[in-house]
């Protein structure tokens, strides 16, 4: 573990903020860090750029992190885990809720590589949609219809022809990923997809076993990004 200082906090809503560090963490999109908020807990967070995390307050530690002040020190283990693999041509990103975090980093990375990127971004309501200004080409879906497509993001994807995308990257709640898996399986596109998964983590470095999947693989080391075709859902 080493320490970095918080340089800036960008509040996107009451519950979501991007915490920018004072230095770059050498990393690839899809990797995560174990962030230790002193006095609270050490939690896994995906990088939303080489020098930031984007966090949603869901409990004690994430709440305190969203409300952190610039200048504070936080402990970092990582970056760790397997990143997304790069694409050529056209790529689709599918985000559910705070699952947008690692995809923001991937979005900027792919665009810098000259990839044509489109984003489907779903959330419960308009207030929970964040960082749209960073996205070049996107469509939004909300469960309550308060912005964009009325329905979930997989229902939005189902209305589209997806066959022109060479790669499909997704991150979001597991039920959403399972629905997307089914859709891509039906359309025979599963082998183009990579999903970033979440599991309860303790050590983050592959020894404690708290993050293992039904297939025996660890989210912290063999993941968090898995090729969808290998998931056996």
């Amino acid at each position: 573990m080493y320490c970095v200082r918080v340089e800036k906090v960008v509040k996107h809503s009451k519950d979501v903020a991007t915490i920018v560090f004072d230095g770059i963490l050498p990393s690839y999109p899809g990797q995560f860090v174990m962030l230790n908020l002193f006095g609270y807990e050490e939690i896994p967070l995906s990088l939303s750029s080489p020098r930031s995390v984007t966090v949603k307050a869901v409990g004690e530690t994430t709440r305190a992190l969203v409300d952190i002040s610039p200048g504070a020190l936080v402990g970092i283990k990582g970056p760790m885990g397997n990143p997304f693999t790069p694409a050529e041509g056209k790529a689709l990103l599918v985000a559910g809720g705070i699952g947008i975090a690692p995809l923001l980093y991937l979005h900027d990375y792919l665009i810098a590589e000259g990839v044509e990127v489109h984003v489907f971004y779903g959330a419960r309501n308009a207030d929970e949609i964040v960082c749209l200004e960073r996205l070049k080409s996107y469509e939004v879906a909300t469960d309550d219809g308060s912005a964009g497509f009325h329905g979930n993001v997989v229902e939005l994807a189902a209305t589209k022809d997806l066959s022109s995308y060479r790669k499909i990257y997704a991150c979001g709640p597991e039920p959403m990923l399972k629905a997307l898996y089914k859709l891509l399986n039906e359309r025979e596109l599963l082998n183009r997809a990579e999903f970033s998964l979440e599991r309860y983590m303790k050590c983050g470095i592959g020894v404690c076993g708290s993050c293992v999947l039904e297939n025996g693989l660890r989210v912290c080391v063999e993941g968090p990004v898995f090729s969808a075709a290998k998931l056996e859902w």
């Binding site: 174990m34 020894v207 404690c208 708290s210 293992v212």
Partner: protein, 297 residues
């Protein structure tokens, strides 16, 4: 060339997964059992237990320091989790138990019909009233082992702590209680401080050191126990390469356990097996012939 028999357990090689590493889910135990000679599940107690707050593990240049705090879903839920091992496990399953009294230890064994053996955690250095707290008293160790032996026909191993004045004294007490093998060692007490935030890195302040750093300590414990006891010794602590395995066997270990090295490679069991095969081919001796060889001559 690698096969061993340990207290009646037939193992395809002497490499066992150590308790607490990747041992909380049956899926990872099954996966590891493909290459490991046996697997030991995460220590389980009577009641569900949260463990300490994160951070619970830190890594440093020579190993890991952990204070997981024996987090466990409790005996019922864990027995249910392990049930699937019976059908899909590919090597013997050892269930590790923790408790604070001999009765409590003995009450755990009937829950695990799928276990091939039991390991008693008499050595976790960072939990109150269990682990080392009960494993430092020779009388209590003898009583616990005897009581557990009465509760089951299966082999019972006692896992010892290096944080005692005389590990042999505790090993002897376990032997007098009727233990089938001793496991040496659990982690060595230690800590780490972050100099920027000026705070201990673990939420529990201190924990147990494992990995390469503790190998010489563990090796000496195995050496001493092999010399003084009649029951087999299982060596554990810092084993990372095939040479480490051979060293422990020469010191007197019939089998060895591997934990922290999984931090470096998920395929550690596979690669150690391949290296040990090459080693035994080159010397023309099977591994069992080498047990304790460093003591003679």
């Amino acid at each position: 060339m690698l096969e061993v028999e340990l207290c009646g357990l037939k193992m395809k090689n002497p490499l066992m997964l150590a308790s607490g590493i990747m041992g909380s889910h049956v899926s990872s135990l099954i996966r590891i059992s493909r290459h490991a000679g046996a697997v030991v599940a995460k220590s389980v107690g009577t009641e569900p237990r949260e463990g300490y707050r994160n951070p619970v593990v830190v890594n440093y240049a020579h190993g890991l320091i952990n204070a997981v705090g024996l987090s466990s879903p409790g005996v019922r839920a864990f027995a249910e989790e392990l049930e699937k091992f019976r059908a899909e496990g590919r090597s013997p399953l050892v269930v590790s138990l923790f408790a604070s009294t001999s009765e409590e230890f003995a009450s755990l064994t009937p829950h695990f019909p799928m276990a091939d053996a039991f390991e008693l955690n008499l050595s976790c250095p960072h939990a109150e009233n269990v682990g080392m707290a009960v494993g430092s008293d020779p009388e209590l160790v003898k009583e616990i082992v005897a009581e557990v032996k009465r509760s089951t026909e299966k082999p019972v191993f006692a896992k010892l702590s290096p944080n005692v004045l005389d590990v042999v004294e505790i090993g002897k007490a376990a032997e007098e209680g009727g233990v089938d093998a001793v496991v040496a060692v659990n982690t060595v007490k230690g800590m780490s401080i972050d100099i920027v935030s000026r705070k201990p890195k673990l939420s529990n302040i201190s924990g147990g050191v494992s990995g390469e750093a503790i190998k010489p300590i563990a090796l000496k414990c195995v050496w001493d126990l092999y010399k003084e006891l009649d029951v087999p010794v299982i060596g554990v602590g810092g084993i990372t390469t095939w040479k480490d395995v051979v060293e422990f066997i020469l010191a007197g270990a019939t089998a060895v356990q591997i934990g922290s090295a999984l931090f470096y490679s998920h395929r550690i069991f596979y690669s150690l097996v391949e290296s040990l095969k090459a080693y035994t081919r080159s010397t023309g001796e099977s591994l069992v012939e080498l047990v304790g060889k460093a003591h003679t001559g």
